[in-house]
Amino acid sequence: MIRGWTARLLGSATGLVYFFLYAPVLLLVVFSFSADRNVGRWGGFTLDWYREFGANAEVQDALRISLQVAVVSTLIATVLGTMAALALERFRFRGKKVFDALLYLPIIIPDVTMAVMMLLFFTWSLDLVDTVTGFTLRKGVGTVVVSHIAFNISFVSVVVRARLDGMDQTLEQAAADLYATRWQAFRHVTLPLILPGVLGGALLALTLSLDDVVVTQFASGPGSTTLPVFVFSLIRKGVTPLINAVSVVMLVISVLLVVLSLIAQRASSSDEPATE
């Protein structure tokens, strides 16, 4: 343990990092209630910008699409990602190494490249569908959902794998010794044990889906603008107090998701047998 002036110096550096991390976001919340038209100046308290948020049809549409995309992509990615995690942590099979590597790629690839991949893929494949079947498909909510699932599977599986990895396997073995079928053992032993991990993965997937700008922008078509994409295009045109209010709403949603995932994590650490 370090003491004396070194500790004090390091302590103040730590405080500074916290200030750096939190002050900007907290100030943004404050300014969202400011009556001044200038986004960064205090001009007395008002709720006008939030009223504008409630009345703006475009913003409401974008919010609705965002939630739809997030929920659907999270549900599918959570099922697929959990299955992938179980396969990798509990089974040996042919092609496992390739699958493992493929599963890591969406996490490490820069979002601009992922966006380019989706744009080229949908252009090419929708064209192909058109020439082969005669159906004309267009990019829209569906393609956005498909692209979000593509990156969310990986994140879900990483979180669930971490949970499976740290888990005591004796309970699963005991269930097998007691003549439980594989399904029964999974349903009554494994699933309840990994549930916090699955929940954590799902919350991460929701967060990432609600966060994404670039991939969505490249995978979407008319009528499938999500809230982050809409806000991003607004910011590029010029900042307005309305953006402050919309940002704070997005902030509140993401903080709610963090709190939920912390609760899920707490649940997962408290029901673990004390090994530390």
Binding site: A7, N38, L251
Partner: protein, 293 residues
């Protein structure tokens, strides 16, 4: 892997292959999904990078050539790449300087306090990325709070919005947790007895830090640096919000090839290069033991 040394009985072998089939079937849906909606798109990027742009701004996929790669040597491209590289390096170094004392301090606290301090880092990390960058746009705006503060201190107005300084600030703000977490992980697992031993051998606290702690935390520093450098190098959202249009960075340059310049093969070849850089960095990361962090 506990591969049995003695030969398996027929029954065991049958059991093993049934298990293998089960595992494969369990992985299959995600496997197929990623093959179709990730690996195939990745391959298509490479295919497009060898294609030709036609007069209407479309792309001819027949007649592969290396023209787009030839353009990578153009002065404008090297300037964009070097600029992005420089900014990503500065961002990484600033993150390292901010994160090291922080991670070191946290690792010397009691376990309960440690957990709390780390959660404090994770919360902003989970908070909406776009909003975090937008917050700086507000802070740095004309007559905004930062400018007012510097005026109050007699330093004059702050006019750094739409400059590279603002971009670095935004990138550091976005990716600092990526540096803190692996650094903390490597500092936390240092055996305290090694530090004690160095002190017993009359090393000063500075010497024991430099000769014991610093080398042992290197894997964390390397892992953190890669985790910060890679997304900074290809960043698009942060420069778009906080940077100016005059000096494009790699991310926005790639995007502009698709949205405005409509030169898809060239954009694809730039993306291909970015993918290769990212993959090499990742290999280094795993070599440095990043997976265990």
């Amino acid at each position: 892997m506990t591969d049995t040394v003695h030969p398996l009985t027929a029954h065991e072998r049958a059991h093993e292959s049934a298990e293998s089939r089960r595992g494969f079937l369990l992985a299959l849906p995600a496997y197929l999904y990623l093959l179709v909606f990730f690996a195939l798109p990745l391959a298509i990027v490479f295919v497009y990078s060898f294609a030709t742009r036609n007069r209407t701004g479309g792309t001819d996929l027949s007649g592969w050539n290396l023209d787009s790669y030839g353009r990578l040597g153009d002065e404008i491209v090297t300037r964009v790449v070097m600029r992005s590289f420089g900014l990503a390096m500065v961002t990484t170094i600033v993150c390292l300087l901010l994160a090291y004392p922080f991670a070191y301090f946290v690792s010397t606290r009691r376990p309960a306090v440690r957990g709390l301090l780390l959660v404090g880092v994770m919360i902003p990390f989970w908070t909406n990325f776009l909003v975090r960058n937008y917050a700086w746009r507000v802070l740095l705006s004309n007559d905004g709070p930062v400018s007012e503060l510097t005026q109050l201190l007699g330093l004059g107005e702050t006019r750094i919005l739409f400059t590279q300084t603002a971009v670095v600030l935004g990138l550091v703000y976005s990716f600092l947790p990526f540096m803190i977490l692996p650094l903390y992980a490597s500092l936390e697992r240092i055996d305290g007895r090694l530090v004690e031993a160095s002190r017993d051998l009359y090393a000063s606290s500075w010497a024991s830090f430099r000769r014991v702690i610093l080398p042992l935390s290197r894997p964390g520093a390397i892992a953190g640096s890669i985790l910060v450098f890679v997304p900074s190098f290809g960043a698009y959202v942060t420069p778009a919000i906080l940077g100016g249009d005059k000096k494009p960075l790699l991310g926005s340059y790639i995007v502009s090839q698709f949205l405005t310049a409509r030169n898809w093969p060239f954009g694809a070849s730039l993306s291909a290069v970015l993918i290769v850089v990212m993959l090499s960095a990742t290999l280094v990361y795993f070599r440095a033991g990043g997976r265990n962090l």
